[in-house]
Symmetry: C2
Subunit: 380 residues, 2 copies
């Protein structure tokens, strides 16, 4: 019962950027038919760790999809693919540019017999430009796209972002492109090609780093954990861990001082306004440090929450998946897989009131739906 | 000429998550009317650095939009807002939950007179759950959502991701939600509410961290810069900087050895397969280090590119904005602002063949289009 119910998506993607995109579509109700190569299937079926022999990685990215096996190099496989494509609204692939053309299924090939198709391609460097044919991995585009250069401890080394945001953001932009193209098609009947590059996606999320550089001429380095222009706005060590405290304005600063028993600081003219606190940061920081160390993270959380001062613990993954807000929002769901049993994974981050979408089925086993899908779309 | 041409969006958002969402819609052709408070406008108009007095931050997030000024607390402002809403397809806001209700413009209020409206809300913790009313900043949700705990140097401290991915990913999921809801509305005429939380969005992009933890019971720490299971796949120091080398399989390993003059390593049984290289990492790493140090990053890039070994420099922002692929993909554009003059900013990462979208106008000055918009939508 999602907003994309009835949308038919042929999914030729593997591993991450593409499957993340098609997972979003499937979660929102699209009928996603994942085409896998015989025997081996999606490479990520072979990425550990495994639960009862099934890849947890694969299962967490391919729920709600059906799997069919086709050998795209054989004439029979090609014929079946073409017949299926004619029944589809969208096809998504994340091969290296040129691969689909070699198989005979480039956008221009498909468009010739199905002008309404939305053909979405996610690739490392995109389908145009001098690097187009180069292979890329998440680590490479995180390095080249600038995000590593501004992530890391202050004065420290450029640092890779933990999750593969090179792939994930490309998958998200591909989903946006497909849905925007769908709006155009709903009105005109005309399909088109959606070309999203992992590198481009990194540039698009650099936020103020580009603006700051072009205006000031200063090359931004690793941003560290503290806010560049607001004080206090950083993690502090507690008796048993760390807590992020974000007193975003002078009012929150005074509230914070009350909660922390630092009323004298609130009255100190050196710290009265944010520009002042920024100026006297070196004097202020140790005074706050000393107090925060005296209580546990949970105690500070309770005190600050009661006072309305933005704060949060630096949760490790074990804490994230039991957090009461995360659970209340159904952002951790448990999916029952026929082989692997129950597996926890992230829920759907887009909450819709009328057609909320749902996680209706676990990731498919390899070729689980070949017969069913071929019968359904191509008859007997 | 974007795929969303004709889509009318009333934009009540400020600073980042919301404006990033509506920028995506505007880049793809939607008519985005940004409603700002009198005198002050969007808070981010006051974020430095400035170019001729105009905020570069604001300008890079609000291109392609029109600005009108309305005092939403006055009866006249409320009446105008209501009249405008009746002409809109979408309204987007990123206030703290409850704010719109207090103003008399909660989803249920608007729905009563405009059931077709798509009402999108982006907030820190979402419109439901025990933390719903709490304030949040990017730093807080990066801390609570787990991404900090898996980002950082190996064995080092949890590290905030440089760009505000807590906001940006929420903005992207909100855009996806709006476009999915639009598809449903195009078919049924029925609108709905789209509720996206920054915290939820962080959980949704944790990738394999959750899968790894739930299967193995091991809490993942900062991931470091090297790949967990592929060798070599990390940055190496060169004569003048660093280069990311990603030899993702045994074939690429042998190619890399040829290029690097390390043929003896390619023949060494300790390093013949990826599992072997992982096992003998400590012996292998210094042997590669020694060789890579002998040439500059640019020299290695050329050699590795010629051989087809995935690699990339760790580009700082000054390098990113002049990279030939980035420029070929029009991922850095220059926009002429009537006051600030020319400013470089990221281009559109979604490349569409039929309706590509465009950057047709700079960010508006405060209230630049009030008269024009009111005349256009509400007559004289």
């Amino acid at each position: 019962m999602g907003p994309l119910e009835g949308l038919k998506v042929l999914d030729l993607t593997r591993v991450l950027a593409g499957p993340y995109c098609t997972m979003i579509l499937a979660d929102l109700g699209a009928d996603v038919i994942k085409v896998e190569m015989p025997v081996k299937g999606d490479d990520s079926r072979h990425f550990g760790p495994y639960q009862k022999g099934e890849s947890a990685y694969f299962m967490s990215l391919n729920r709600n999809k059906r799997s069919i096996v086709l050998d795209l190099k054989s004439p029979e496989g090609k014929a079946t693919l073409k017949a299926l494509l004619l029944k589809m609204d969208v096809v998504v692939e994340n091969f290296r540019p040129g691969t689909m053309e070699k198989l005979g299924f480039g956008y221009e090939d498909i468009k010739a017999y199905h002008p309404g198709i939305i053909y979405a391609a996610s690739s490392g460097f995109g389908h145009t430009g001098p690097y187009s044919q180069r292979p890329a991995y998440d680590g490479v585009v995180q390095a080249m796209g600038g995000i590593m250069s501004i992530t890391g401890q202050e004065g420290g080394k450029p640092t890779r972002v933990g999750p593969s945001v090179g792939d994930i953001n490309a998958g998200m932009f591909t989903a946006i492109g497909i849905l925007a193209a769908l709006n155009h098609r709903n009105k005109t009947g005309v399909g088109q090609k959606v070309d999203v590059a992992m590198l481009d996606s990194q540039v698009a999320i650099l936020e103020n780093a580009i603006a700051r550089y072009v205006v000031t001429g200063e090359v931004p380095g690793p941003a560290g954990n503290k806010h560049a222009s607001i004080v206090p706005f950083e993690p502090f060590e507690t008796a048993d861990g760390e807590i992020m405290i974000a007193a975003g304005n002078d009012n929150l600063w005074r509230l914070f001082c009350q909660v922390a028993g630092l009323e004298t600081l609130a009255e100190d003219p050196r710290f009265a306004t944010n520009p002042k606190r920024l100026e006297h940061y070196k004097a202020l920081k140790p005074l706050i440090d000393e107090v925060i160390l005296k209580r546990t993270t949970a105690e500070w959380q309770r005190l600050l929450d009661d006072a309305g001062v933005p704060n949060g613990p630096i949760n490790s993954v074990d804490k994230v998946i039991v957090n009461e807000q995360v659970l209340a929002r159904e952002m951790i769901v448990e999916v029952e897989h026929p082989v692997a049993g129950r597996l926890k994974m992230p829920g759907i981050p887009i909450k819709l009131s009328a057609t909320p979408g749902e996680i209706h089925s676990p990731a498919p086993t390899l070729g689980q739906h070949t017969e069913e899908v071929l019968k359904e779309f191509l008859g007997d």
